[in-house]
Symmetry: C2
Subunit: 309 residues, 2 copies
Amino acid sequence: SKGNAPQVAPPVVHYYMNNLTNTRTPIENEETVLILTPLARFYQGYWDNLLKLSYPHNLISLGFIIPKNKDGNAAYAALQAQVTKTQTGPKNKRFAAITILRQDTEIPLQSQEEEVRHKMENQKPRRSAMAKARNSLLFTTMGPTTSWVLWMDADIVETPSTLIQDLAEYDVPILVPNCFQRYYNNDKKAMDIRVYDFNNWIDSPTAKEMAAKMGKDDILLEGYKDMPTYRSLMVYMYDTSADPRAKVKLDGVGGATMLVKAEVHRDGAMFPPFPFYHLIETEGFAKMANRLNWESFGLPNYLVYHYNE
Amino acid sequence: SKGNAPQVAPPVVHYYMNNLTNTRTPIENEETVLILTPLARFYQGYWDNLLKLSYPHNLISLGFIIPKNKDGNAAYAALQAQVTKTQTGPKNKRFAAITILRQDTEIPLQSQEEEVRHKMENQKPRRSAMAKARNSLLFTTMGPTTSWVLWMDADIVETPSTLIQDLAEYDVPILVPNCFQRYYNNDKKAMDIRVYDFNNWIDSPTAKEMAAKMGKDDILLEGYKDMPTYRSLMVYMYDTSADPRAKVKLDGVGGATMLVKAEVHRDGAMFPPFPFYHLIETEGFAKMANRLNWESFGLPNYLVYHYNE
Ligand SMILES: Nc1nc2c(ncn2[C@@H]2O[C@H](COP(=O)(O)OP(=O)(O)O)[C@@H](O)[C@H]2O)c(=O)[nH]1
Ligand SMILES: Nc1nc2c(ncn2[C@@H]2O[C@H](COP(=O)(O)OP(=O)(O)O)[C@@H](O)[C@H]2O)c(=O)[nH]1
Ligand SMILES: [Mn+2]
Ligand SMILES: [Mn+2]
């Protein structure tokens, strides 16, 4: 029997009556969470942080998609080793299910170095490929019992252990924490934090005008000097003196860490690999969700941390 | 334990290496097919036709989505009875898995009568709701082993038994047969056939001009006298004297019967519930697939039959 053949073929019938909920109290309601991670490189910090999540692991399924190249092979091996360790370790740390997909589509960039990755002319093919990878992962792993989807990039190495409960409590369709980075501040001679993810933003009249004048397949990007959008970026709204629970409505979101009610995806919200209102991937996702009447929000004072390369 | 709780939570790890194929010879390659049906009414003819499909049933999974109203309850009961009968009957007739979802979104029309259903002003809310139902079904049931998705409406009561093999042999991303209807021709005093599904078409300059002049959320519809599009409709290309295997490239498709390579959906192709290039639902799907570089085709001389109300 080939890899293609169904894993199980008993005369079993499953009925799912869609009495799924997604509530402010997901643990009491035994709501299942699907954590989805596109993974080009494996970071131990990511896995350790995942293991520390206090949401019951038997309610969490994991899904990964890994590129089919040399780096991907290494990432796959490292992930597999940790998966085996966890799933044969203490019962209360084991996850309900783990799915690992290898990407079969083209990988547009040969290098995963930050400098190459973030070059402006590389953004469209790169983010289009990322969008397809996210879609493959989503369409393949979401099941009838999924209540929530938590998108979590492989280089997110630190979050509060109550991340899922904290985000679910806001009871909104799409919610993103603020993504920062720890680094050594040479001036202060001490560890410090700095902004990282520019994809969480509130739209601006300038950006709207730019979009209106663009060619139909051109895209707007955020965080590039040559393309000032004057959007309000959530990274700059971080304010230790303000309400730690503050919540803002967003027009664009990043996928580094993002909690989504499963029904948002079920309605059809995916990551557009083509320019959609001049946006692609996670930023296009927020716009598409919006077209489906779902709103996106961000938490400027709730931080998660990106790996520092 | 609630309905929400995961069905199985052993420390099992699944690896799917995406060595899926979709080939001209799907049976030899043990390729799995997911048949998806939005179902508002149950027709025995639909089920009987399904059972006659000669593609190995152990490679076929079924997925249904049924509205949560009175008609839906009746349809659900009728379906369940047939499912139980089939899945406890002869082993070679049993399907690999069956998933039945109840729709939790709004149902815009109270009546399923053809006259009401096909009224032009009812099309946008009706087809938008249908699009969401199709997306829910798709996102929820597609798994890592799915090679093909066959969309089949609940009122398709007759197809060749070799439908899946026949369509797969063309080896194209999206393929639709021509959807007709049997009826009693009073003039001829005999059974006859007539055209049914107008959603399979090749675009026209007129339709493109109409779209260009429309408000941004307006949609083009096909088969309405008040909105002549001059598109080339596949129903009118049926020609018994021509090549029975003829294949034409299409710009819009219907979902009555449609075979889709799973990778098309995995890239993100869904059924837009919002106007997408002035198209929605299955017609918008063809356009979205096109934006993802996948082409749609139709078989003018390969017929399937819609129930005659
Ligand atoms: N499957 C897959 N994952 C990728 C690919 N490129 C990046 N990733 C992962 O996608 C996520 C976001 O990419 P990253 O390069 O970190 O984006 P950035 O932090 O915004 O520069 C990370 O988890 C990466 O490991 C790819 O080609 N395929
Ligand atoms: N889940 C669901 N299915 C529906 C609904 N309305 C129609 N259907 C099904 O969707 C398919 C297409 O709808 P139908 O009314 O036959 O479309 P038409 O033949 O183009 O008029 C059929 O299988 C219907 O049974 C609905 O509100 N919810
Ligand atoms: Mn990153
Ligand atoms: Mn019909």
